[in-house]
């Protein structure tokens, strides 16, 4: 019965200390009774293979022990979606930008690579892992505390007729553009256009000259301006007639694709901003110019990511529009527009 003893020893390892002996004694008796039953039926001792099969049918020692243990979770099912949302936000808004910034510096800043020769360039990844562990630990502790205090104070158990959340809106039409979003877009586009045509200017800093490199100031002046005006026109169109049409979705798709192409070209070009500080030494000017260009490129990466997301949204809406039209569910106005 060495096999059985080993199995029981393995179960013992996982059992809670206070009940270990009691559970094991009962489990041992149950298994031995089953073994004896089988042996008396066969008229012989069980072989090792048969005993192994019998124990395997009962489950691994870990699984067997788990059935005796109380169910414990750090975050309960009600708070879990919030917890998951926080973890996603940490990943998306903290860890991912951090990683993107590091990748950008490695790819585009020779000075950064020079300062971190060889394997040293990978060292920040260790820091990233540490940051991720810390962030997840804080998030877990925070949600656990919130859950515990909500349960202890009884907030989650309170409800009366005066506590009425807003009724959920009627099922939202996915093909209707969000007016608020597009009004914001109009504002952003107009501010940018006014800046681009020099109606708005940034306040001057004494003894510092900051200007766009020729690729931005000349080569891309009109393409950028035309694209911003097209985007503003589309936004106005969406605010006035918020229901998407196939033609308008293709216009949006076109604008975003051109924007991605512009950003890609600009990102692969040399310095985008030129800096001149007469009183500073050339190496200091170069260092500062490097950081300013880094910030500008980071902004362009952000614009590129947003444009890529918009392409995805536009394509998804096109599919949705097609399936709606195919199902004949689109209102007459939409069918006319399509």
């Amino acid at each position: 019965m060495e096999l059985l003893d080993r199995y029981l020893a393995a179960v013992r390892f996982w059992l809670p200390k206070g009940q270990r002996q009691d559970i094991l004694a009962e489990l041992t008796d149950d298994i031995r009774a089953e073994v004896e039953d089988r042996e008396s039926g066969l008229g012989r001792k069980l072989t090792d293979a048969e005993l192994t099969e019998l124990l395997q049918r009962r489950g691994s020692p870990y699984r067997v022990a788990c059935r005796y243990l109380p169910q414990r979770t750090v975050i309960g099912p009600a708070f879990f979606p919030v917890y998951l949302l926080i973890l996603k936000a940490i990943g998306l808004f903290y860890l991912l930008p951090w990683l993107a910034a590091w990748l950008f510096m490695v790819a585009f800043l020779p000075s950064y690579r020079a300062a971190h020769p060889g394997w040293e360039v990978l060292l920040p990844l260790v820091e990233l892992v540490q940051r991720a562990v810390n962030a997840f630990a804080f998030a877990t502790a925070g949600v656990w505390l919130a859950q515990r205090s909500a349960e202890r104070t009884g907030i989650v158990d309170r409800w009366d007729r005066t506590w009425n959340p807003v009724l959920p809106a009627e099922s939202k039409d996915p093909l209707r553009a969000n007016r608020g979003e597009w009004m914001g877009q109009i504002f952003g586009d107009l501010v940018f256009v006014l800046y681009w045509v020099s109606v708005f200017r940034l306040p001057a800093i004494p003894d510092l000259r900051l200007e766009f490199a020729p690729i931005l100031a000349h080569t891309f002046y009109w393409p950028v301006l035309i694209l911003a005006l097209a985007s503003a026109a589309l936004s106005i169109w969406n605010v006035v007639r918020p229901r998407w049409t196939r033609r308008r979705l293709f216009v949006w798709l076109g604008i975003e694709i051109v924007e991605i192409a512009q950003m890609a070209i600009l990102l692969s070009a040399g310095p985008l901003v030129l800096l001149a500080i007469p009183q500073a030494t050339p190496d200091k000017v170069e260092l500062l110019a490097g950081w300013v260009n880094f910030a500008v490129r980071l902004m362009l990466v952000g614009i590129l990511v947003v444009a890529a997301v918009d392409v995805f949204r536009a394509v998804r809406l096109l599919f949705k529009l097609r399936s709606t039209a195919a199902a004949g569910a689109a209102p007459a106005a939409v069918r006319r527009a399509v």
């Binding site: 559970i23 004694a25 009962e26 489990l27 008796d29 149950d30 089953e34 009962r58 059935r67 005796y68």
Partner: protein, 118 residues
């Protein structure tokens, strides 16, 4: 319409039986028994229960005061014998009443539809 997957039926069947297990265990423990014989007795009456479910259930019911247990030597082995406590007997009566009421309700709901369809 796609046919219902067998595992969905199996899950629902297990869920349905799980609810009845406590009643079956309490019903069998009107007379003192130890775990293995209890398991065999339940299986013989068509209520198979695996040991991984039975023993934790017995411990929980004992902790709740529904069962009492006693370690005793029988056939040269120490065995833990379980039986209903006084409160457990009362609880069994209440649960049986509830069970009959559920049975009558279900007969009224499902039985009527079946007869109506026929």
């Amino acid at each position: 319409m796609a046919p219902i997957a067998p595992d969905i039926f199996e899950n629902l069947r297990m869920e349905l039986r799980r609810g009845c297990l406590v009643l079956a265990v309490l019903g069998e423990l009107g007379e003192e028994q130890y775990g293995y014989t209890l398991r065999k007795a339940l299986a013989a009456r068509g209520m198979e229960i695996d040991e991984g479910t039975l023993y934790p259930l017995l411990r929980r019911l004992e902790a709740q005061g529904v069962l009492v247990s006693e370690w005793r030597e029988e056939e040269k082995r120490n065995k833990r014998f379980y039986r209903l406590s006084k409160d457990g007997r009362q609880l069994l009566e209440q649960l049986l009443t509830e069970w009959k009421s559920i049975d009558a309700s279900l007969e009224g709901i499902v039985g009527r539809k079946r007869h109506g369809a026929a």
